[in-house]
Amino acid sequence: MLGPLLRRLLPLPLILLAASVVAFALPRLVGGDVTRAVLRARVAADAPDPAVAARVAAELGLDGPVVGQYLRWLGAVLRGDLGIGYVARTPVADQLGSALGVSGLLTGAALVLAAVLGVPAGVFAARRPGGPLDRALSAAGIAGIAVPEFVLAPWLVLVFAVGAGMLPAIGWGAPEHLVLPVLTLAAYPAALAAQLVRAETIDVLGRDHVRLARAKGLPERRVLWRHAARLALTSVTSLSGMFVAGLLGGAVVVETVFGIPGVGRLLLDAVLARDLPVVQAGTLVLVAVAVVAGMVAEVAQLALDPVAHDREADR
């Protein structure tokens, strides 16, 4: 148990280190003089006074050799100091902190909704592959994947907010603000989960232990849920990377359309305004969340699924 666990956790620091190098290199890749960019953003002066420029460079940690700059920057990041945003001129850590809470709530709610909708749909569809329920759910699944967030969101707003007037179109703070964004964000993972659970469950239903369970005379419902669906779920867990990537990517669109102050919108606004400290910190956070979520899911799968455990031991 511990061996495979360690093997899975080992790449984590490496990935984060790689992400930190990318984040650090970002302002240098952007080209141009960062100091001047900052000054231009702050005072709209094109030709800065050299003395002022030197002071700003020192303030931003942009003087001295590159490796030293990187280590200093990394040290500051590890202490939780992510710098000052160019645009808002407030600490990036504060901006990111509040945004993370918002995005966490949004994506967490969407993930729960997707599981509640997608998993039963997949299991029921697998009961009779090719049957009417399976075909209906499969059509819904195609729709869920083919309709992107940026199409779904405006139409939901038009129907439910503008047309029916039941829900607010944009904003954040009240519980009703959650409804449309969560619906939009959950559509893709729900369809994905249904598709994966269906395929896995069909697979598991053909295995020997299911035949044994049926031969024992267990009711079909028990066979389906206890013996088939549970095992199917553990294999789907290992594909969590696709869900994480889907949710994080979708969150950028959903937060932009619904005016939600989350990480996605913070990052998008920062990119469009070239607010580099925010982009750097946002990149680090997104990579960390994606990688850690994937690891957690894999470890959970390893703990749950005896077959994966055996396979791991065989290697």
Binding site: W155, R207, G241, V252, V253, L268, A290, V291
Partner: protein, 289 residues
């Protein structure tokens, strides 16, 4: 299969020929703003009086063209990586595959954002962003298929006859995994299309006034209540093409699975029963935008 070909041909005709007959997609007409569909403008006009139908079809060239090019490039790269890892196996193969999985867990939007910040938003940044992660699903799929094929007798036979690695992979294995990979490419086309238009919607890809479906949705969104037809046309186009690509992928995947099954039963009990069941039917879902 033939129907899919006919559909693709019709689409090509529509995209290449028809725009010549339509009004200029960027010509503005302030006398006819946000007009509903009429004889002169079959899909109405947008907030600058531009013809929505012309923009839709010219935008199709860009949206679909970029998506197809991306799928071809990422498909070639991903397949090569997957074949090599699947054939070589061992520690190195596993390490590359692990890296692929980690990369696949990062949202394409993140790469879109980074590319936009470094290169400035535009078609180049867009192409780089969708290519950087786009090859990973192909690699995973090709790896899975290759591992299955490598255990078969013909691979051993070819190697025994003195075929080198490149020849075994390129000449023998690739030919046998090509069909499911083409099916996968269709599914990936849907995902890539959604990524391309999604990034353009966010302002990270194709910039207005150039017509692109995602950018058209973004531009028309402000006038959604007054003139829903401006957003409706590109919305329907995106969803329709993505759904068609998904369905084509599923149909091709099913026929590929059907074709392989007799050979597989001959290969006998060496194979794990799990492998032969689901697999291709589900067709890997597309990466999200």
């Amino acid at each position: 299969m033939r129907r899919v070909g006919a559909g693709a041909g019709a689409l090509l005709l529509l995209v290449v020929v028809v725009p010549v007959l339509l009004p200029d997609p960027v010509a503005t007409d302030f006398a006819a703003i946000l007009r509903p569909p009429s004889a002169a403008h079959p899909l109405g006009t947008d907030q600058l009086g531009r013809d929505v139908a012309a923009r839709l079809l010219v935008g199709a060239r860009l949206t679909l063209g970029l998506s197809v090019v991306t799928v071809l490039v990422t498909g070639a790269v991903g397949t090569a990586v997957g074949l090599a890892c699947g054939y070589a196996g061992g520690r190195a193969g596993r390490a590359v595959l692990r890296l692929t999985d980690l990369l696949a867990a990062l949202p394409t939007v993140l790469f879109g954002l980074l590319a936009a910040v470094v290169l400035g938003p535009g078609p180049v940044a867009l192409l780089i962003a969708v290519t950087l992660v786009g090859w990973t699903p192909f690699a995973r799929q090709a790896h899975q298929l290759t591992v299955r094929e490598v255990g078969q007798g013909y691979v051993e036979g070819a190697a025994a006859l003195g075929a080198g690695r490149v020849r075994v992979l390129g000449g023998h294995v690739l030919r046998n995994v090509a069909r499911p990979l083409v099916a996968h490419a269709c599914v990936r086309l849907a995902g890539t299309l959604l990524a391309v238009s999604g990034l353009s919607f966010l302002g990270l890809g194709i910039q207005p006034p150039t017509p692109e479906w995602g950018a058209m949705v973004a531009e028309g969104r402000e006038f959604l209540f007054a003139a829903p037809h401006v957003v409706l046309a590109p919305s329907v186009a995106v969803v329709l093409v993505a759904a068609l690509a998904l369905l084509a992928g599923r149909a091709l995947g099913d026929s590929a699975a059907g074709r392989r099954s007799p050979a597989r039963s001959r290969a006998g009990c060496r194979e794990h029963p799990r492998r032969s069941a689901g697999g291709n039917r589900m067709g890997d879902p597309p990466a999200p935008p």
